[in-house]
C-alpha cells in the first residue's frame, strides 16, 4: 500500500515537472535558409542542390569544429544532412574502411596498408587526406606567481615532461627567463590519459627537437614516465587549472586562461599562433606513395625557420576518390569543399578556435577534392 501510494505521488511529481518544462517551445535557432521553403534562395550565399545524408566518424579533436561545420553546411546545402560520430581516429578509420562511414576524421594519416585496403571501397586511387583542421598545441602551465609567458627550449621542455626537472626555479628554466621571479613550487606534469593525436604530435616534436627525450613518438604517453593524467583536452586543462605547479600540453584553442610557453625556434622564442601553425603545415613535406591527390604531410618539427611554431596538430579528413553513387559523391564534394572554403574555415575558427588554412593549402585542397567522382 505504502509503496504504491508513494510511487503514485512520485510519479505524479516527476510527470508534472516533465510537463512543466517540456511545454516550452523548441529553442533551436532557425537555420539561415528556412528548411520549409526548400528553395534555399535566401541568406545571400551560394547554395547547393545536393541532398541526402553523409555520415562520418573519427577523431574527437575536431569535434567542436565538426559541430560547427555540420551546422554551417545546412545553410549551404539545405537538403543535406551530415552526421559525425567522434569515436576516435582509429575507430573512425576502421569504420571508414569497413564501409560504415562515408568519410573519416583522423589525427594521423593512414598507414600504407590501410591505404591499400581503402582501394576496395574507394576505387583504384584509394582514399586521400585533407588537413582541414589545423591547431597549434600549447604547452600550458599554472604556477602561482608566474603570470606571463615563459620562454623555454625543446631540451628543457623535454626534461620537465620526463620528470628530470622537478621544481619551477630550476636553473634550466631560469636560464631562459632571467626577468621572471620563479617560485620553488614542485612541478606536476599532466598528460593525456587516453591515446591521442595531441600526444603523438607533442612527443614527435620532443623526439625530433630535444636531445634529452629518449622515447619514441606515439599516441600513448611513454609508460615509464609516471605523472598525473586526465582524459581529453578539457580534462588535462581542468586538472592543470586546479593544480598549482602543473604543466601540460593541449590544443591551443582549449587552454582557456592558462599561461603558455614560448618555444625557442632558431634564435627567437615563438608563442603559439594560428598563422605560424598554418604555415608549418603548408611548408612541410608531403607523404609519398599514396593517392596522387593525397595531402598528408610530414611536419617539420625541428625547423629553425624564424616565426614558425613547430608543435602543431593537423587533423585530416579522409575522403574516397570514388564513391559508389553519384549522390554520395556530390554530397562528399560539396561537404569537403565547404570544409576548406573560407567560410567553412571561419565558421570553425569562430566556434572551435583552430587555425584557418592558408590560401595555398586551400587551393591544393580544392584541386584534390575535384578528383572525387562516382564509380
Amino acid at each position: 500500500m505504502n509503496a504504491a501510494s508513494f510511487g503514485r505521488t512520485a510519479a505524479l511529481l516527476s510527470l508534472a515537472s516533465f510537463v512543466l518544462v517540456a511545454c516550452g517551445e523548441a529553442n533551436n535557432p532557425v537555420a539561415e535558409n528556412g528548411d520549409e521553403n526548400g528553395n534555399g534562395e535566401n541568406g545571400g550565399g551560394e547554395t547547393s542542390e545536393v541532398q541526402g545524408t553523409l555520415v562520418g566518424g573519427g577523431a574527437s579533436s575536431q569535434e567542436a569544429a565538426m559541430t560547427a561545420w555540420t551546422n554551417g553546411f545546412t545553410s549551404v546545402a539545405p537538403e543535406a544532412q551530415v552526421n559525425y560520430a567522434s569515436v576516435g581516429s582509429g575507430a573512425g578509420r576502421d569504420g571508414f574502411l569497413g564501409g560504415e562511414y562515408d568519410w573519416a576524421g583522423s589525427d594521423s594519416a593512414m598507414e600504407d596498408e590501410e591505404w591499400e585496403q581503402s582501394k576496395e571501397i574507394c576505387g583504384p586511387d584509394g582514399a586521400f587526406h585533407i588537413p582541414a583542421y589545423i591547431s597549434p598545441i600549447a604547452v600550458a602551465f599554472n604556477v602561482e606567481g608566474i603570470d606571463e609567458t615563459l620562454n623555454l627550449d625543446a631540451d628543457t621542455i623535454a626534461s620537465i615532461f620526463s620528470g628530470e626537472v622537478t621544481s619551477w626555479d630550476d636553473d634550466a628554466i631560469a636560464e631562459h627567463n632571467e626577468d621572471v621571479d620563479l617560485p620553488d613550487t614542485p612541478i606536476t606534469v599532466v598528460h593525456r590519459a587516453d591515446d591521442s593525436g595531441t600526444t603523438d604530435n607533442f612527443t614527435e616534436y620532443l623526439e625530433a627537437a630535444a636531445s634529452t627525450w629518449e622515447w619514441e613518438a606515439s599516441d600513448a604517453w611513454p609508460s615509464e614516465i609516471s605523472a598525473e593524467s586526465a582524459q581529453q583536452n578539457s580534462g588535462v586543462v581542468d586538472l592543470t587549472s586546479q593544480t598549482d605547479g602543473a604543466i601540460t600540453y593541449a590544443d591551443a584553442s582549449q587552454i582557456g586562461g592558462l599561461n603558455s610557453v614560448a618555444v625557442l625556434v632558431g634564435e627567437d622564442y615563438v608563442e603559439h599562433n594560428a598563422e605560424a601553425a598554418s604555415q608549418a603545415v603548408a611548408s612541410s613535406t608531403p607523404v609519398e606513395g599514396q593517392a596522387p591527390n593525397n595531402m598528408a604531410v610530414e611536419l617539420d618539427r625541428d625547423t629553425e625557420e624564424a616565426g614558425a611554431y613547430p608543435i602543431v596538430l593537423a587533423a585530416y579528413n579522409i575522403f574516397c576518390n570514388e564513391y559508389p553513387d553519384q549522390q554520395t559523391a556530390d554530397l562528399a564534394v560539396a561537404f569537403a569543399e565547404y570544409l576548406v572554403s573560407e567560410e567553412g574555415q571561419q565558421t570553425a575558427e569562430a566556434a572551435a578556435g583552430n587555425a584557418p588554412m592558408s590560401e595555398d593549402l586551400r587551393s591544393t585542397a580544392m584541386d584534390a577534392i575535384s578528383q572525387i567522382s562516382a564509380q
Binding site: N2, G90, E114, D194, D195, A220, S226, S229, A230
Partner: protein, 297 residues
C-alpha cells in the same frame, strides 16, 4: 502441450545465451590474434604478458578495494532495510538505494574526479607521513587525489546499491516461520539474523557480491575519469596503476585499424573475461558448498 512449449522456450533462451557467448568469444579471439602472433617473429606471448600483467593486478587491486569497502556496508544497509528500519520507511529507502544504481557512471566519475579526489588528498598526505613504512602508503602522495584508492572508493560507491539491492531482496524472502521460531525461542534480533537470515541468504549474498564485482571489474568510464593511470606500483596513494577496462576505453578509439595495438586491447579484454571466469567459478564453488538452505530443492 503447454508444458512442452514452455520448457522448450526456456531451453531456447538458455541456448541463445550460449550461442551469443560463443559468437563473442570467437569474435574476440579472432581479433586478438595479432597481440600474440607477429608474422616475422612468430608467437610473442611473453611481450603480451609483460604488457598485460600490470593491468591485471591493477584491475584486481581496484576491485578488491571496492569489494572490501562495499560488502560490509551493503550487507549492513540491506539488513537495516529488511530488519531494522521502521516498515513504513523501509520501502522508500530501498527504492532510493535502487535508484542510486542507476546514476550513470559518467556522473560517478565526475563526482570522484572533482569532489572525492581532492577531499582525499589530506588523508593521503597523513597516511604518507605516518605510515609510509607500509609499502601501500609509500611513494609520493598524489596532489590531485587521482589514485587507485580513490578509484576503488568510487567503485565501492557504485557497486554498493547493487549488492544492497540483491541482499535486501533475499533477506526479505527469509521464511517468516524461521525468524519467528528463533525469536520465540528467546533469541535477540541479532541472534535471529545469524541463525535464520544469514544461512538462508548466504548464496544470495555471494551472488550479489559477485554481481557487484562484475560491475567493478568491467567499469570503464568512472575509473578512466578518476585515475591517473601509470606504471604498476604498490602504493595506493600516488598516481599509477591502471585497470583493463580503463586501458581499453582510453586506448581503443585511437588504435589504428588492424594494428597490433588494437589486437592487444581486444586481447586484454579476453583476459578480463578469464579473470571474471575464475572469480565466478570460485564464488559458485563456495555457494555450492552451502546449497542445503536454498528453497528450491
Amino acid at each position: 502441450m503447454g508444458d512442452k512449449v514452455f520448457s522448450g522456450l526456456a531451453l531456447l533462451a538458455g541456448v541463445a545465451i550460449l550461442a551469443t557467448l560463443v559468437f563473442v568469444a570467437v569474435f574476440l579471439s579472432f581479433n586478438s590474434v595479432g597481440a600474440v602472433y607477429r608474422e616475422e617473429e612468430g608467437l610473442i606471448i611473453r611481450q603480451f604478458l609483460q604488457y598485460a600483467y600490470p593491468l591485471v593486478i591493477g584491475t584486481l587491486i581496484a576491485s578488491l578495494i571496492a569489494l572490501l569497502l562495499a560488502t560490509p556496508v551493503a550487507v549492513g544497509v540491506a539488513l537495516y532495510i529488511s530488519h531494522f528500519a521502521p516498515p513504513r520507511l523501509s520501502k522508500s529507502i530501498g527504492y532510493v538505494i535502487d535508484l542510486l544504481a542507476a546514476i550513470p557512471s559518467v556522473v560517478y566519475g565526475a563526482w570522484g574526479m572533482s569532489f572525492l579526489g581532492p577531499t582525499l588528498v589530506p588523508l593521503y598526505g597523513w597516511l604518507h607521513q605516518h605510515l609510509s613504512f607500509i609499502p601501500l602508503f609509500a611513494g609520493s602522495p598524489s596532489q590531485t587525489g587521482r589514485t587507485i584508492f580513490t578509484a576503488g572508493v568510487v567503485l565501492a560507491v557504485m557497486i554498493l546499491p547493487i549488492i544492497t539491492s540483491v541482499c535486501r531482496e533475499i533477506f526479505i524472502q527469509t521464511p517468516k516461520l524461521h525468524e519467528e521460531a528463533a525469536l520465540a525461542l528467546g533469541a535477540t534480533r541479532w541472534e535471529m539474523i545469524t541463525m535464520a537470515v544469514f544461512p538462508f541468504a548466504r548464496a544470495g549474498i555471494i551472488s550479489g557480491v559477485m554481481l557487484g564485482l562484475g560491475r567493478a571489474l568491467g567499469e570503464t568510464m568512472a575509473v578512466a575519469l578518476v585515475l591517473s593511470p601509470g606504471l604498476l606500483t604498490a602504493s595506493l596513494i600516488s598516481a599509477g596503476n591502471s585497470t583493463i577496462p580503463a586501458e581499453i576505453a582510453l586506448g581503443f578509439p585511437e588504435a589504428p585499424p588492424g594494428s597490433e595495438r588494437q589486437a592487444q586491447l581486444i586481447a586484454i579484454g579476453l583476459v578480463l573475461f578469464i579473470i571474471t571466469l575464475i572469480v565466478n567459478m570460485t564464488a559458485r564453488w563456495i555457494v555450492s558448498r552451502h546449497k542445503e538452505f536454498s528453497g528450491a530443492n
